[in-house]
Symmetry: C2
């Protein structure tokens, strides 16, 4: 197994994981959170939603998320990423906004933070293995 | 750098991390969550509390936690652990109970789940690098 690295190489891997998480958020804005999560979750992903029971499996998560309003917007900004020396496991955390949209108008915005565990799949693409979120105070 | 492993060795590493998380919970019951977290958090730990702002640093987290009631009990049970092939980074998730105690009586119990990122310190001991929790429905 190849493993790595000097500090610079590890920082570069973390930057690439941050970029992936940003691309995930951009995709959520572009096509909606339901489709974006389906694209970025690992097949055996675990979703730890605030107030809910754990949900396991990308397809089951997709079915649950599909019941929500497709107009609402989930957007986030990763704050930090770290990748294991072996390069196949990493994590990010960041802050998110969930915007409830009705008749093309933002009706409410809730703020939170998330912690994601990422794993590289067989094609060397980062996928979200665990996704957890909770609420944050509303910014003043 | 040494890295590993065949599947059996990785499973063994995951079991050891599960054991560490269980020992952390046992310590929380024994000496209280505040002291247990001080012992098990990494120096640069990040706490992502439900409803709060992120808190960085073991000593800052300790100060915040010290303001709570020392009689309340935080107890948890890890459900799964995974360790990177390189062996220095891992994660656990599990379920917790937070018991509010007044006059030696359990006044209320809240249920939740958590996701922890762990990193081995210079002495090869697992420490919690990121701790996040959120609420779960009350079991029937």
């Amino acid at each position: 197994m190849s493993s790595c690295c000097n500090q610079e190489e590890r920082a570069d891997k973390a930057t690439k994981l941050l970029d992936t998480d940003r691309a995930f958020s951009a995709r959520s804005v572009e096509v909606g959170a339901v489709q974006a999560f389906h694209e970025f979750l690992a097949e055996d992903a675990l979703m730890l939603n605030d107030g809910g029971q754990p949900v396991t499996g990308r397809e089951t998560i997709f079915e649950r998320m599909s019941k929500g309003s497709p107009d609402n917007v989930l957007i986030w900004e990763p704050q930090r990423a770290e990748v294991a020396k072996s390069g196949e496991l990493g994590w990010t955390w960041g802050t998110f906004e969930y915007r409830v949209i009705e008749s093309d108008t933002v009706k409410s915005v809730s703020h939170g933070k998330y912690l994601n565990v990422w794993r590289k799949d067989a094609s060397e693409n980062w996928k979200v293995l665990v996704d957890m979120g909770n609420s944050s105070p509303t910014p003043e």
